[in-house]
């Protein structure tokens, strides 16, 4: 398992992408481009959510990646306020109610783009894990 600690700042997205690529390559995993793009997007959605909402001031995100032959697991740890993304739903807009439920699109997409997604909160730390099958 590889890990990196980054400031929770969207200006550090480039570091997140690089770490994701490096971890997948080090694991010897050959991930189809479409699956890589989905994992990249899911990772970005979570990282951005933490950057926007977890901290009132500055804070960090610890990212851990385990790239194996059948799946890639990415963990996001932060010590910001407790937030369970699985507790929120997303209804989506419709032509009759286009303004409906504008929030939660990013988390909804994470659920759709990954094969597993779970959350724990322990000792003041959020831990979000996503899993993408190879």
């Amino acid at each position: 398992m590889k890990e990196i600690k980054l400031p929770a700042d969207i200006d550090r997205l480039g570091d997140l992408y690089a770490f994701l690529q490096e971890s997948i390559a080090c694991g010897g995993v050959v991930l189809p481009e479409c699956k890589y793009q989905e994992l990249k997007q899911a990772s970005e959605e979570i990282f951005v959510n933490i950057a926007y909402y977890a901290y009132t001031g500055r804070g960090d995100v610890l990212v851990r990646i385990e790239a194996g032959p059948t799946k890639i697991k990415v963990e996001f740890h932060d010590s910001g306020k407790a937030f369970d993304p699985l507790a929120f739903g997303y209804g989506g807009p419709s032509p009759h109610n286009p303004a409906h439920n504008r929030g939660g699109q990013g988390i909804f997409l994470v659920k759709e783009l990954t094969d597993d997604f779970y959350y724990t909160y322990c000792d003041g730390h959020n831990k979000l894990t996503i899993v993408k099958a190879v």
Binding site: I10, D11, L13, C34, Q37, K40, Q41, E44, E45, V48, Y90, G92, P93, S94, P95, P98, R102, Q105, G106, F108, L109, E112
Partner: protein, 101 residues
């Protein structure tokens, strides 16, 4: 890196976007796109050269759609690539905007 080219033709403002639209890039696109509704008669966005986008793009496009409705300036999305179209379908965004091949 995202690049945006704007062409104006008889009141139609066409934004041709190329590259990945990650979160910061979507915000930059919003800064160029939203003021265009003040002067345009029609706004078109060409996404043929965009293969990656995140939910921030949905957010700025939904804001653009609101402005489009308020100002009565039609907005059309063209040549949306399959990965981006997939995001539009999943979030049902395709139900509230005009998307043409």
């Amino acid at each position: 890196m995202m690049k945006v080219k704007l062409a104006k033709d008889n009141g139609t403002f066409t934004f041709t976007v190329a590259g990945d639209i990650n979160t910061p890039a979507a915000r930059e696109l919003g800064k160029e796109l939203h003021p265009a509704f003040e002067k345009a008669k029609r706004v078109e966005l060409d996404f043929s050269q965009v293969a990656y986008a995140t939910s921030e793009l949905l957010r700025i496009l939904r804001m653009a759609q609101d402005i489009s409705t308020t100002k009565n300036v039609p907005m059309t999305l063209r040549n949306v690539s399959e990965p981006v179209m997939n995001m539009f379908r999943l979030t049902r965004f395709d139900a509230i905007v005009t998307i043409v091949p």
